[in-house]
Symmetry: C2
């Protein structure tokens, strides 16, 4: 097994564990046992637990931003409708019964108030995600795509967090009704 594969294997296992059970609540021992590796190997690939989590945020971002364009293109042909479809897509992830929220937000909040690699990685994800929304808004031909993207993100984050906390996809309906109004006014 190559180095890259081994590292990916650790990432895959750690990702699920932290996503499901939280960051402080999950020890590196659990990651080791779940992956089936020794502690030495874990610390060969990652300098610290926080560095591992930071890389997992990167993994989350890459995964999400690879799947999302495909899914929203499947749901709607035009860029304008794809913004709405993004909310449908995210809601569907909750509908499947798993109420995992945003990996980056959860990590950021749990390490809130400090300056760790976790903060840096999550901020980088937020920026990347914002740029993606901006490009969608620009493609949609809206007047002020950058301003619109900022508004869309607030709605999106609000829906995601409320859904995770209440374990219900309902907040997405409220968010979508506002989004429809917002998009109509921004043409």
């Amino acid at each position: 097994m190559t180095k890259a594969l081994k590292k990916q294997e650790i990432i895959d296992h750690a990702y699920e564990l932290f996503y499901d059970h939280g960051f402080h609540a999950t020890g590196v021992d659990k990651v080791m046992a779940d992956t089936g590796i020794s502690k030495r190997t874990l610390y060969k690939y990652f300098a610290s637990k926080e560095d591992l989590i930071a890389e997992l945020i990167g993994h989350y971002g890459e995964t999400f931003l690879k799947i999302a364009p495909v899914e929203i293109a499947r749901l709607s042909p035009d860029p304008a409708g794809q913004i709405m479809a993004l909310f449908d897509f995210r809601k569907a992830m909750f509908d499947e019964g798993s109420f995992r929220g945003c990996f980056a937000i959860s990590a950021n909040l749990e390490y809130s108030g400090r300056d760790t690699p976790v903060q840096a990685a999550s901020l980088k994800f937020f920026e990347t995600f914002l740029n993606y929304i901006k490009s969608l808004c620009a493609d949609g031909g809206y007047k002020d795509p950058d301003k619109l993207a900022g508004q869309v993100i607030v709605l999106f984050n609000g829906a995601v967090v409320a859904s995770q906390a209440s374990r219900s996809p309902a907040p997405f309906d409220a968010a979508k009704s506002v989004l429809a109004m917002l998009l109509a006014a921004a043409k």
Copy 2:
């Protein structure tokens, strides 16, 4: 010192510690040392760490819902303007340099995926807060105050979480611009 006062003293100290440093990251030993009490006393007033946190969420809710009406009444005379003022008030809390988000959301997310007293307490807060927004919307004379309240909450949570994560009050400006549009359309 009476029982109630002692308990309040523990709550006050624990509240600051958990709010600033997180829940799993803060041990009961730190709460003891900070309050200046023994472990036995702590566990006389609270059955467990999770029960303590659940009570702290109640404390957060009571505090917030006692101050908010006063502040927004100071900022705006009419109920319609007070909804907007609620965002100004919350933004001002961030502007003061402290980027503490919503205590209930933070606690809920950190204990996400399990069923603890923490979940119950935070859900109760969300309900109370929603009812408060509903009453503001009803007083404002809006068409469908319950629906509007759900939309307002999504915007509010989105702004709070994004501000905490990015340590910037900027998301409130995006949220407020959407809110203005929303309120204008809901008259």
